[in-house]
């Protein structure tokens, strides 16, 4: 009785559209899940891992092991879509400016800068872009950033004085990128809300803020030229950075708490006015 409906009579002889999905072959026997049916592979939580599972650092599907809670999954999907959309916009912008640059160069006869080849040398690895975007989001998701963009509209920004968000589409080494992010966040602290309501550290904070900005003015200011990670680390050693980063040397005690709470695994929403620049 159990296989009457599977009898050959009512079926076309060739494989039907769904035969690859069937649990049972035409003779009624159960197919094993493995058997060439890749489609069954990845979707059940209890299944063995899909063959395309890769470690988080590499490109390709990261799948379920990273964030298994639905909230984070949806956030990540959200971000992924945004990143792809950004990528398209960026490409268009670059292609547009490439064209005009080439025109200018041929007419003026000057040699081109490396900018013109930016479109070809773009970072496109999704995992890298997502990670970078997350880091950028942590920085933007602060009161300091809010106050900064309100105070200084984009067209009023002066290079060197006003922090600029690192460009996630440029090729950088991991170390170089991470340091750019740290530097950017440190500079953003200049716009932290006044720390009146905190544990009376305001005076220290103020002087430290000035100190930070002063140091910052001395080093490479325009991020895009921080190509070489070695340059970045040598020039940044004079700055204070959190102890958590093994790249940093001689962190003054006052600064130690700078970022230990701001990164990255915490769901930091707008933090209350805390003295991050300590």
């Amino acid at each position: 009785m159990s296989d009457f409906h599977r009898s050959g009579q009512n079926y076309s002889s060739g494989p039907s559209r769904w035969s690859h999905c069937r649990k049972r072959g035409n003779d009624g026997s159960l197919r094993t899940h493995g058997g060439g049916d890749d489609e069954w592979g990845a979707h059940r939580p209890s299944d063995s891992r899909h063959s395309s599972f890769t470690t988080p650092e590499s490109a390709g599907p990261v799948s379920r092991c990273g964030q298994s809670d639905w909230g984070s999954q949806v956030e990540e999907d959200d971000m992924r879509r945004d990143v792809h959309r950004d990528m398209q916009r960026y490409r268009r912008r670059i292609l547009g400016s490439d064209a005009t640059q080439r025109e200018r160069r041929t007419s003026s006869g000057s040699s081109g800068s490396c900018d013109s080849r930016e479109g070809e040398n773009m970072e496109t690895d999704e995992a890298v872009l997502l990670r970078r975007q997350k880091q950028i989001n942590y920085g933007k998701n602060t009161l300091a950033y809010d106050r900064y963009i309100q105070e200084v509209p984009r067209h009023m920004r002066q290079p060197g004085i006003h922090p600029k968000t690192p460009n996630k589409f440029r090729k950088y080494s991991r170390r170089s990128w991470d340091q750019q992010i740290k530097l950017w966040k440190v500079r953003l602290h200049a716009w932290d809300p006044p720390a009146d309501d905190c544990n009376g550290k305001s005076t220290n904070d103020d002087t430290l803020e000035e100190l930070e900005l002063g140091d910052v003015m001395d080093i490479e200011l325009d991020f895009p030229t921080l190509e070489n990670s070695q340059d970045a680390s040598s020039s940044l050693n004079t700055l204070s950075f959190p102890a958590e980063d093994q790249d940093c040397v001689g962190t003054p005690v006052k600064v130690q708490r700078t970022e230990s709470r701001a990164d990255p695994d915490m769901m930091v929403k707008k933090p209350p006015a805390e003295p991050f620049i300590c």
Binding site: R44, W70, S72, V74
Partner: protein
């Protein structure tokens, strides 16, 4: 037999997709009348000024009510969507959505126990999660994270023991009417798998109520017709003809 279908509580089946909403901003759309006054105020505030309320509490309140009140769970997605949008606009946050989803996930993990101790709650849960799937879209796409969980729930409803309960069959066909097409687009293989179960159930399972068999046949035809009924089929199932 035909007239029977009209008296089924799942009148939404008739209208296929969800009832067209009144386009005004009245909170009656959200069916919050079943909440006590204090909670209604909380919800109304959440809709207008999300960052001023405890969004985790709001999501808990909504989930709790959805598990108790099937009328609410059928449309709770709408109020959730509005709060998500409001929060995103006001503070670029998604705390409400995150809390809501994680709470849904918690309940999902314990769904078998839930079903064991209250069929009603289980059915409310499925209705709710499907409604969230329907309404809470991200860039006009359903949330991928919910696809498998929703299928898992529907597959559970299609199992032989569940087919014996009219409330579960009712819930199953209602959800398929509302979100079947979208769900299939997200993953057609699992839809096929589900429908194998439904065919098996319809053909082989003994002791099914006649209403159940009617609902199963209707949903089989519905999907076969590309997620709609031909006009003749519609006449068969839904028109009252004096026999």
């Amino acid at each position: 037999m035909r007239i029977l279908l009209m008296t089924v509580t799942s009148m939404d089946v008739l209208t296929g997709a969800s009832v067209p909403s009144i386009m005004d901003n009245s909170t009656e759309d959200y069916r919050i009348q079943s909440f006590d006054v204090e909670t209604q105020i909380l919800l109304k505030t959440a809709l207008k000024d999300p960052s001023s309320v405890n969004l985790k509490k709001v999501s808990d309140v909504i989930v709790d009510q959805s598990l108790k009140d099937q009328m609410f769970s059928k449309e709770a997605g709408r109020i959730c969507y509005t709060i998500v949008q409001a929060e995103a606009k006001q503070s670029s946050g998604n705390m409400f959505r995150t809390n809501l989803l994680n709470r849904l996930q918690q309940e999902f993990k314990d769904r078998e126990a839930m079903r064991g101790h209250s069929l009603q709650e289980w059915v409310c849960y499925v209705t709710f999660i499907c409604n969230i799937f329907d309404y809470l879209k991200v860039n006009n796409m359903p949330m991928v994270a919910l696809v498998h969980p929703v299928y898992d729930c529907l597959m559970r409803l299609a199992k032989p023991d569940a087919l014996m309960n009219e409330v579960e069959v009712d819930c199953l066909v209602l959800q398929l009417h509302r979100i079947g097409e979208q769900l299939e687009k997200m993953n057609s293989q699992r839809m096929d798998e589900l429908f194998f179960l439904l065919r098996d159930g319809f053909l082989l399972q003994e002791g099914l109520a006649s209403m159940t068999r009617l609902l199963l046949l209707e949903i089989l035809e519905f999907r076969a017709g590309g997620w709609m009924l031909s006009s003749t089929a519609h006449k068969y199932y839904y028109s009252e003809i004096a026999d």
